[in-house]
């Protein structure tokens, strides 16, 4: 029963889980630091050196605050909402290859929890059920602002899922596989997919912004119109779960983008300097995390630069802009493959 492979998977899950949570925790700190720096401020710098303990202080605060469940709310669903949001966003990391793999004692252990042959679809499935956390929470609060936030979230996510899926189809056409691992392995050196799929990447990253409810598409929690959006009625750690889920989603999106379009753990030229496969794999993991951190920074950079979209603009962009563009991209990819043969 407890084979080394099973134990390895267990350890890997624990490691990825904790890394995800720590990164999400420090994303909250990084967000405030980046926001501060982009606005000529310093950001949090009181708790510990450079404010490095700020997330801990925030966590303690979240736990200590009074927990309020509104009298008129649907109590079970009110609690279910943040739980679903948190659970779904933690599930996605299962199919992401965080490195090529380690060879320990003659056995090869891939640095991926599950190499399902439909990895991308798994990501999509989990992302598409992620909206339930917001919808359930927003509806169960029995507050009109929460409800409006929930409705906005659901319609926004459904609309952008279409364009996201279409942009991925072009990528899948090129790579010929749905397995995330094979897509990552299919971009050795500098042959990153973004070079062959610039339009698809653009569509994908715009949709990723919308799917994670990040600015400029953060309409579900748009505080100028909807108080707090879907989490208006939430307090204490349940609110913390929602906020945390957003940051985990951001980390996962950054990981997916780097894996699908930016070569994952591949980096040009590192193969020339390092020959030991285990070291190479670990260096690759480091590079992957470098890419992920860059994209997390990119997410924040965009958030503190671009103003929020209006709701009709959002829908216009999604349906009239991105979907036709994604279909065009599929068409162009097909043409390219016909003329130049299969790439990569």
């Amino acid at each position: 029963m407890f084979t080394p492979a099973l134990i390895y998977i267990f350890i890997l899950i624990v490691v990825i889980f904790s890394v995800t949570l720590v990164i999400a925790m420090y994303s909250t700190y990084a967000e405030r630091k980046v926001a501060g720096f982009l606005q000529d401020r310093l950001g949090p710098n009181r708790a510990g050196p450079f404010g490095i303990l700020q997330p801990v202080a925030d966590g303690v605060k979240m736990f200590m605050k009074e927990e309020i469940i509104p009298d008129v709310s649907n109590k079970w669903l009110f609690i279910l909402g943040p739980s679903v949001a948190m659970a779904t966003c933690l599930m996605t990391s299962a199919v992401i290859p965080f490195g090529s793999g380690l060879t320990i004692g003659g056995t090869f252990y891939p640095m991926q929890v599950a190499d399902v042959n439909i990895g991308i679809l798994y990501v999509f499935g989990v992302v598409s059920i992620g909206v339930y956390g917001i919808m359930i929470g927003g509806w169960a609060s029995n507050n009109k602002y929460s409800l409006l936030g929930a409705l906005r979230a659901s319609s926004q996510m459904i609309s952008y899922e279409v364009a996201m899926g279409l942009s991925i189809i072009a990528l899948v056409m090129m790579t010929g596989t749905l397995s995330v691992r094979e897509i990552a392995a299919g971009q050795p050196g500098g042959h990153w997919n973004v070079l062959y799929q610039p339009l698809g990447f653009l569509i994908f990253i715009i949709c990723a912004f919308a799917e994670t409810n990040r600015a400029p598409f953060d309409l579900p929690e748009c505080e100028t119109e909807l108080v707090g959006g879907y989490h208006t009625e939430y307090s204490s750690m349940k609110l913390g779960f929602y906020l945390f889920a957003e940051y985990i989603n951001m980390f996962i999106s950054a990981a997916v983008i780097s894996t699908l379009y930016f070569g994952g753990y591949n980096m040009p030229f590192i193969g020339r300097f390092i020959t030991d496969p285990n070291t190479l794999s670990l260096v690759g993991t480091a590079f992957l995390f470098g890419k992920i951190f860059f994209f997390i920074f990119f997410f924040m950079w965009v958030r503190w630069t671009i103003p929020r979209f209006r709701y009709d603009q959002l829908m216009n962009l999604g349906w009239k802009g991105l979907i036709p563009l994604a279909i065009l991209n599929i068409f162009l990819t097909g043409l390219g493959m016909w003329f130049f043969g299969k790439v990569g």
Partner: protein, 190 residues
């Protein structure tokens, strides 16, 4: 309608060009601007460790000055209270007894002297009105408190302590002093 100032502009909603309509150049332009600010010098001053210098003519908490011998200068003439636009100053005058010459410079002195710091607007008119150079505004801040009553500052808080004289040379430069003493000016002829 005819514009009176001739400065109004007619605004037209121009048709956007293709490059403008895809928004991406504008977005990248904006992001370039924000990333430039990322590396700029920050405007924040870390308050308790670093303090921003006050202006030399900053008007903060009041002080009732003593003269060189340590006697209170205030003679409770009430000019400050009269000049105060916020009516924050009240005082009760009393006569100096024999043997109190060391304490009060003039024969009349303020038994109580109170400034309500919640009313005070720190305009500095009391300082300007004072004929005895007794009241000045310093560069100290009025600290916060939880009770309204604590903001009524009596003589215990206002009179400068003997062992810790307050430097008001920035408020009262030689030029100001000369101006006040110059009897040729109508302002001072009263």
């Amino acid at each position: 309608m005819q514009s009176l100032s001739n400065r109004s502009k007619v605004v037209t909603k121009k048709e956007m060009s293709f490059m403008e309509r895809i928004y991406l150049p504008a977005i990248f332009g904006g992001m370039a601007i924000t990333i430039k600010h990322f590396f700029k010098k920050k405007a924040t001053i870390n308050y308790p460790e670093v303090k921003r210098d006050f202006s030399e003519v900053y008007r903060g908490k009041h002080v009732l000055k003593r003269d060189e011998n340590g006697a209170e200068r205030c003679t409770a003439c009430g000019l400050c209270a009269v000049s105060c636009p916020a009516e924050a100053i009240t005082m009760v005058a009393g006569e100096r007894k024999a043997g109190e010459e060391k304490l009060y410079r003039e024969e009349k002195y303020a038994v109580t002297y109170e400034i309500n710091m919640l009313r005070c607007i720190f305009c500095g008119l009391c300082e300007e009105a004072c004929p005895k150079e007794a009241i000045f505004l310093t560069d100290e801040l009025v600290p916060t408190d939880f009770k309204r009553g604590e903001f009524i500052y009596g003589k215990n808080k206002l009179v400068e302590p003997l062992d810790n004289r307050v430097d008001i040379s920035k408020r009262q430069t030689q030029a100001v002093l000369d101006f006040k003493k110059n009897k040729l000016l109508t302002h001072n002829r009263l």
